[in-house]
């Protein structure tokens, strides 16, 4: 029984009977301790330095703020050369980010691959805009933007998509108020193999 306890996590995948034989005690390959004692503790500071993700509930959004107009100015100098003055992109290499055409509004992407998927018609969470820009953009200088700049760029892109007034300023609280047109269109995977093609 001690053996089972020390391998308790394996219960999630193996039936308990198999467990004793397969995972613990005198088996070929040696013993399985509760922990191997390998690795070192990660400090709070070092985790904070890399824990940059923002969740759909706003968890991880930093302090700071930025206005639509500041965002437009930063966009013109740091983003427009690849994504176009109006966020129209230069597909396929540089994605479009702005656009809410009528076909897109009906979420008709399965019918027509040519409808550009934009923040305005395909992104389900405003938090993703912040998270992605902070992670990855501008493409040739990732990680170079301040949090205020990322808020401003997020505000500008949401506003360009008609999701925020041109006079708005975005911070962690107001970002969570933005209603994304694509929210509610996403469904979990229902493919299970077997006889049904989905």
């Amino acid at each position: 029984m001690r053996a089972i306890q020390s391998c308790s996590l394996r219960v999630r995948v193996l039936p308990a009977a198999l467990l004793v034989l397969a995972a613990c005690g005198g088996k070929p390959g040696g013993d399985t301790p509760a922990r191997y004692g390998i690795g070192r503790a990660a400090t709070t500071q070092e985790i904070a330095a890399i824990d940059i993700d923002v969740g759909p509930d706003g968890a991880g959004l930093p302090a700071g703020k930025g206005s639509v107009s500041d965002g437009a100015a930063i966009y013109a100098t740091k983003c427009a050369q690849c994504h176009g003055q109006k966020g129209e992109g230069m597909p396929p290499a540089y994605p479009a980010m702005v656009g809410r055409d009528s076909a897109g509004e009906k979420f008709g992407f399965a019918k027509d691959a040519k409808i550009a998927k934009t923040i305005g018609n395909y992104w389900s969470n405003a938090t993703t805009v912040f998270d992605y820009i902070r992670r990855a953009m501008p493409h040739t200088a990732p990680g170079s933007l301040t949090n205020d700049e990322v808020y401003a760029l997020t505000a500008h892109l949401l506003s360009a998509n008609g999701l925020l007034p041109a006079t708005a300023t975005l911070d962690s609280a107001s970002l969570m108020q933005v209603k994304m047109p694509a929210a509610g269109h996403f469904v979990p995977d229902n493919r299970r193999g077997g006889g049904t093609i989905r």
Binding site: L9, R10, R12, V13, T32, A34, Y36, I38, G39, R40, A41, A42, E46, I47, I50, D51, I52, D53, V54, G55, P56, D57, T77, K78, Q81, C82, P92, A93, F107, G108, F109, A110, K111, A113, I115, I119, Y122, W123, N125, T128, D131, Y132, R135, A136, P138, H139, T140, A141, P142, S144, H185, F186, V187, P188, D189, N190, G193, G194, G195, I197
Partner: protein, 429 residues
């Protein structure tokens, strides 16, 4: 440079990058040393490019001439030209030349590539995997430390879920196996069970998801359901007996058998255990499947069963007489149990031989001996996996998913043999 299959790959080349940087007028690059703009650039040798090597003449009789000596690292025969294509893409793809390979293991240097921000140059002495969030003991591991956990070696394919997009949307006669399916590769991977790492850090039983993040220039991040960590997920550092290739995630990557390639995060630097998915750009704006009825499928990880004939194939020709019809089959849900071949465009099907063991979530090679007598024929293959799933026709997929769907393309494809032995792609099953 833009390959039809790599719309998703978006074909951003190094030249484009320089262009972007140039147009930026330096504005985006202030404070960034010129060499840091691209790590590939930083790596470029300072010496002028080598003059083309003069190859020795091919001897009339090699048994009469002493051969060449041993060398530190082998190279392919000069007669072998298998190569990935397209190349030079920082944000984009290169495809495996499936038609040039035999057996089931993809040579590491021909494994397809898909990068969202180029290949990072990571020093294994400094790179760590940090695991935190809903864990009792947040911890960091170097690759050397990971190697001290129980090691497992498994054969699995990795397939980009965008594999085959070009052929699905726009089947053209000149397409080759490389172009219709070259974003799948199969390797022997060595690493540690993610379950062992989760146990070491004391992942909390109530946790539902974890975030996996890479150490590349876009910090690519995906949310993965926690049960996968305790099922068959691995953190691997080796591929086909040697350390991972840089383009496959050196010094370590996540390996989620059967899951779409993008979720197998390369250059793995961080795992955060939590309660809900993070809704990263790669699981919302990308890697979701638009479907009829104004919806899109999300977190569609498992790759559906698929097969492709790699010989005969376009753009080759075939000679009359006996020929093997040979190809690869795989499923993200387990073992391939059957591959059938049709030589009459799907009117009748014959079972092919599965060569070697059919391993779960791995490529298996199939073969069927066939005598070509010179008539026009269409060769097709169709895989069945252990769940009973049978690879569908393209018409069926278009019916249920729409022509604009964006990922997970696994229709039955084939090759049309003309009376003169010329071969073209047949994509309209």
């Amino acid at each position: 440079m833009t390959d039809p299959e790599s719309k998703e790959g978006a074909a951003l080349t190094r030249r484009d990058l320089l262009r972007g940087a140039a147009v930026a007028g330096g504005a985006a690059l202030v404070g960034i040393p010129a060499v840091a703009r691209s790590q590939a650039q930083a790596l470029a040798p300072v010496v002028p490019p080598l003059v083309p090597q003069v190859l020795p003449p091919i001897p009339a009789d090699a048994t009469k001439l002493l051969g060449t000596p041993t060398s530190p690292v082998g190279t392919r025969s000069r007669f072998v030209t298998a190569s990935r294509a397209p190349t030079g893409e920082v944000t984009g793809t290169s495809f495996t030349p499936l038609q040039d390979l035999t057996g089931t293991i993809t040579p590491s240097d021909l494994h397809f590539e898909r990068h969202h921000a180029g290949i990072p140059l990571l020093d294994p002495a400094r790179h760590t995997l940090t695991v935190h969030g809903m864990v009792d003991r947040p911890m960091a591991f170097t690759v050397d430390e990971l190697r001290r956990f129980p090691q497992v070696t498994r054969v699995h394919f990795v397939e980009c879920s965008g594999n085959g997009r070009g052929a699905y949307r726009d089947p053209k006669p000149e397409l080759t196996p490389q172009k219709i399916a070259g974003m799948t590769s199969n390797s022997e991977w060595t690493g540690v069970r993610l379950a062992d790492i989760m146990k070491e850090v004391g992942a909390q039983a109530s946790a539902q998801w974890f975030l996996a993040e890479g150490g590349d220039a876009c910090l690519l991040a995906r949310s993965i359901p926690m049960p996968k960590a305790f099922d068959d997920a691995l953190v691997v550092w080796a591929q086909n007996g040697e350390p991972l290739r840089p383009e496959q995630g050196y010094p370590m990557r996540l390996l989620l058998p059967g899951y779409e390639g993008n979720a197998n995060v390369k250059w793995l630097r961080r795992l955060e255990v939590g309660m809900r998915p993070w809704m990263t750009r790669w699981e919302t704006a990308k890697y979701t499947d638009p479907l009829p009825g104004g919806i899109a499928r999300q977190f569609s990880f498992e790759m559906d069963a698929k097969s492709v004939i790699t010989s005969p194939c376009a753009p080759r020709t075939i000679t009359k007489g006996w020929n093997p019809i040979s190809g690869l089959a795989w499923s993200g849900r387990g073992r391939i149990t059957k591959v059938e071949v049709s030589t009459d465009n799907g009117k009748s099907w014959r079972e092919a031989e599965l060569q070697g063991p059919s391993l779960p979530k791995a490529h298996v090679r199939f073969a069927y001996m066939w005598e070509w007598k010179g008539s026009e024929q269409v060769l097709l293959s169709r895989a069945t996996d252990e769940t009973g799933y049978v690879q569908p026709t393209r018409a069926k997929l278009i019916e249920v998913r729409g022509k604009g769907t964006d990922y997970h393309f696994n229709p039955i494809y084939g090759w049309r043999i003309a009376t003169d032995g010329a071969i073209t792609f047949h994509g309209e099953s």
